[in-house]
Symmetry: C2
Amino acid sequence: MRDMIIDLIKEKKYSSVRNEILKMKSVDIAELISELDASDSLIVFRLLPKDLAVEVFAYLHNEKQKEIISSITDKEIQHIMDELYFDDMIDFLEEMPATVVNKILKNTKEDERKLINQFLNYPENCAGSLMTIEYLSLKKEMTLKEALNHIKATGFDKETIYTCYVIDANRKLQGTISLRKLVTGDESKTVEEMMNTDIIYVTTHDDQERVAHLFKKYDLIAIPVVDKENRLIGIITIDDIIDVIDQENTEDFQKMAGMEPSEEAYLETKTFTLAKHRITWLLILMVSATFTGGIIRSFEDVLESVVVLAAFIPMLMDTAGNAGSQSSTLMIRGLALEQIKLKDFTKVIWKELKIGSIVGIVLSLFNLIRIYYFEKIDMKIGLVVAVTLYFTVVLAKLLGGVLPMAARKLKLDPALMAGPLITTIVDALALVVYFTMARWLLGV
Amino acid sequence: MRDMIIDLIKEKKYSSVRNEILKMKSVDIAELISELDASDSLIVFRLLPKDLAVEVFAYLHNEKQKEIISSITDKEIQHIMDELYFDDMIDFLEEMPATVVNKILKNTKEDERKLINQFLNYPENCAGSLMTIEYLSLKKEMTLKEALNHIKATGFDKETIYTCYVIDANRKLQGTISLRKLVTGDESKTVEEMMNTDIIYVTTHDDQERVAHLFKKYDLIAIPVVDKENRLIGIITIDDIIDVIDQENTEDFQKMAGMEPSEEAYLETKTFTLAKHRITWLLILMVSATFTGGIIRSFEDVLESVVVLAAFIPMLMDTAGNAGSQSSTLMIRGLALEQIKLKDFTKVIWKELKIGSIVGIVLSLFNLIRIYYFEKIDMKIGLVVAVTLYFTVVLAKLLGGVLPMAARKLKLDPALMAGPLITTIVDALALVVYFTMARWLLGV
């Protein structure tokens, strides 16, 4: 598809390009434009009918949006701004440099400018930054018939009209009513009689993770957002929440692999930024690992007399790290999905202790047999390795269970207590157990 | 809340229990019941009005559902089955032992039984297993007014009526029309004139990950599911897709930490099952790590002459593993979200090479200074460590970038190429580089 379009552009067959593109959905056109170079993408964008151009624009990623905005006329920019859904416009403006934002705001009416500034000021990752203002409000005195007529008159532009919000003269939220009830209910009844007053809502400064949790728990499609005075400010719709879920998961993946989280996609992030995000934790973990090295140095005499002990260090370290990562991953995930709560602490400890014992015994026996029968190494060394392995696995499982919960208790992010950090801690413990066992059992 | 209810039950103040519970939302009641013991939870469940009981039942987890089903009468079971949404019923039946399923099926009408059996036979994780049959179908000849009247007459029970599906006499899917268009459109027009014929749909055997991807890409709230003959079989709604997204992410987290994936929540999984899920990969990785140990043994002479080299093994191994995990995590996540595609291979390699160089140089210099100035160890040993670190980090970054993409290319799950596996591979490489460098630079 992309190659065909490029060929058609080269041959300057613009009307064929247009015909091909008009067969596509807006998000697919956006994907195509993202893959073209600056001049070709501008040509394709300019071939789009005005309203489709706005839809496509909303789907482009920030870099491409910037590129296009810098190449089109003020009038074209104005049209895009007028037609974009409010939340898409805010998302776009948030990523633009101040000069572009000012240029755009200069051309908007004063009350809209005020609203935009208010929305731009909501902290990232809070409910306010996810809101849109395209929702339908009703008055409780309306009959269902009047409400439906009101929707017919005004509803075309709304991003979602499936839930309508009932507000009073001060914009205070009084209830919600679904379009389904409006359509299927007795049309002479009033909105007040039919509306749901047990409303699930959030405030502008609530964290987006909490908002996503409410959507999941109550199977919502949209949620109203109110300010401190309970006045309706906007709504958040499910499509933006799915993005939040993906984003929060990506953040957890990144943190759990010892990186600073970033919202930008990998290919769109600069090399230097990626390197910076990775280096801090690598340095911290590297310095911690030198303590582990210190442990080896303090047992140098043991190692000197039985050099073969060194050969089992990688296996012990890797297994300890892996065993700890498994537990901490399940904890972090369980805490994130609220399947595990702080009050389950003792249950978790007890469970991990049992799992650690089972796993530890299996791995230890496996090793003992392998070392003694297959590698024909001294039984005593096999015992040292097996006993160390058992204790390390149990310890690793316990720490993997405890540390993420401790982090939650201390209001830190449990995702920080993941594989890399736990590996470093458990590695040190494994070596202390190993050499102490060796000194004791081998008498060196 | 829970404690108060338990107290009220103990005091046999059942009407107060009922009053308290009726103030709550169904999902919260389900959460409460899950926390009670068998007899208390049955009491609370029986206090619920019939229809609320069904709603609450749908939210309970499988173990609790089984517990309740085994304690209530056939008539009560019958009522729950009649009133459950079809997809919730299928979810429930899928988890029940065959005896329970047969008992329930015996009491259903023949055509419903056939349908249930058909649904139970869809493989897990495919579109068919997520479907519900509660959707609204229209004929294209209807006017919008007729369509709305049809919805008023039949629409109350449908799980979602916001998108209606237009089918012909053979149930072939011809188009979709949103309730919004029905309400806001000219009521004398026909459905055919207003419907959307460019339909996004899936077939019963499509993978659930693909379905979720379509929801995200096109901001859908529901998607129709058709069979091979393009006949409409059911629809999938967004709330079930959010569960799929969470489930797929949990699976990735589990695989990336070297565990067999499991859908059950941690606290509801048996200790033995959890141990089993963890042990396979631990064994595989442990055996691989013994190869790493073999490398140390083959360089025993080097280690014997310069025992201090052993002290840097943990730091080198940990850093190599962490550097590799960082890259592979970003790759796996990028591939899962379709932000990185196979055709980006060379871009990724080049980027990781650059990142690896930057990170490698910083870490190496840091180490060189630390070893020489602070630990006062021979400069040559510092050099060996620094050079090894540089090469290992670059190698780790490259492998972390390449292996997940190679897995995708081979139609394997990229999530398998995560931290634990890459750590094992990179550790071995790190040690080979380390001892070769030592032999060469230190002349042992």
